[in-house]
């Protein structure tokens, strides 16, 4: 039973398209795409947990270290020995970073690698700036941090490799 449309109905039907003023938000395709192709999503989620754990280090440090900065920091025992260790880790981290970039990781992965780096720099600053800090504690925290970062990067590479799509092109960076 079709009634003759009244004025309101006619108006709405005539202007049907203008009533659609919303645009689908740009980020939604990215989410849909990732849900449809879960390999990369798995990497992303998994390593985020590790990153949270790693950044937990800095929170622990912040809670542990209190005090004000003094202009002249005393020399830190074990620093020169540590520098060799740091050089070793930083070189390996840089290598892994190159590999990750080559294989093609998502921009968020790279951004959060950057964040981890900043965490490490914060640790380093506190080592020098805080006279109340226990340098040995911080140094071993810095080592642990770098070890963890390497582990994370290793896992990223393993997963990217494992879930490499069979398509012709990788997800562009």
């Amino acid at each position: 039973m079709m009634n003759t449309p009244d004025r309101l109905e006619q108006f709405i039907r005539t202007h049907r398209e203008s009533l659609d003023d919303q645009r689908a938000p740009a980020h939604l395709w990215h989410r849909i795409d990732r849900e449809l192709h879960p390999g990369e999503v798995r990497v992303h989620r998994m390593w985020r947990w590790a990153a949270v754990a790693a950044s937990g280090l800095i929170l622990l440090m912040s809670g542990y270290l209190i005090g004000t900065r003094t202009p002249a920091a005393p020399p830190i025992a074990g620093w020169s020995e540590y520098q060799e260790t740091e050089c070793y880790y930083q070189t390996r981290i840089a290598q892994k970073m190159d590999e990750i970039k080559q294989v093609g990781a998502e921009p968020e992965v790279l951004a959060d690698m950057q964040m981890l780096d900043e965490v490490y720099q914060d640790l380093r600053r506190q080592l020098f700036d805080d006279p109340n800090a226990d340098p040995q504690w911080i140094l071993s925290a810095m080592i642990r941090h770098q070890q963890q970062k390497l582990e994370i990067m290793e896992k990223i590479l393993t997963h990217i490799d494992k879930y490499k799509p069979n398509e012709k092109q990788l997800h562009p960076m």
């Binding site: 009244d6 004025r7 309101l8 109905e9 108006f11 709405i12 039907r13 202007h15 049907r16 203008s18 009533l19 659609d20 003023d21 919303q22 645009r23 689908a24 938000p25 939604l28 395709w29 989410r31 849909i32 795409d33 849900e35 449809l36 192709h37 398509e167």
Partner: protein, 187 residues
Amino acid sequence: MLSGAEQKLVRQCLAGDRPAQQRLYRQYADAMYNICHRMMGQAAEAEDMLQDAFVEIFRKLDTFRGEATLGAWMKRIVINHCLNGLKKRRIQFAELQAYHDEQPDDPAGDTDDVQYEVARVREAIRQLPDGYRQVLTLYLLEGYDHSEIAHILGIQESGSKSQYSRAKARLRALLVNQPAGQPHRNE
């Protein structure tokens, strides 16, 4: 029947061709998002519904047999997702609780002299309460008839008709009362 171009696009999507999937999405995303936005009444939920619906659309694309147009087939999936999302609001589609200022069934025709403007009509539709907004959307904007709506919502056809009638009356009331240029957010 799908056009040749659409058939090709569907084939590519089924093969997992991601740029093709993105093209198909872009073709329909805005229209579908507007449906979600009207059904859900707010942006955050509308986004969730659109995302879930499209994931299902791509996953079920192999079941599409061409019995309807691709757009119509996709629209049903989108609407079903919206209705599932609305379930927790426990909207009574068949009989809405009476609002104290609710008009009885819409008297035939419109005797008012309201000049309709697109922006105000758009806003007024947004202000319609749950229950009314969905039925009006399905009938008047998405072109389903009352028997289809009854099937979709799980109500009687007469329920759909009376709900629609009341929705129209409420919409008219909103258009009469609404001061110009003051949109009201239903979020």
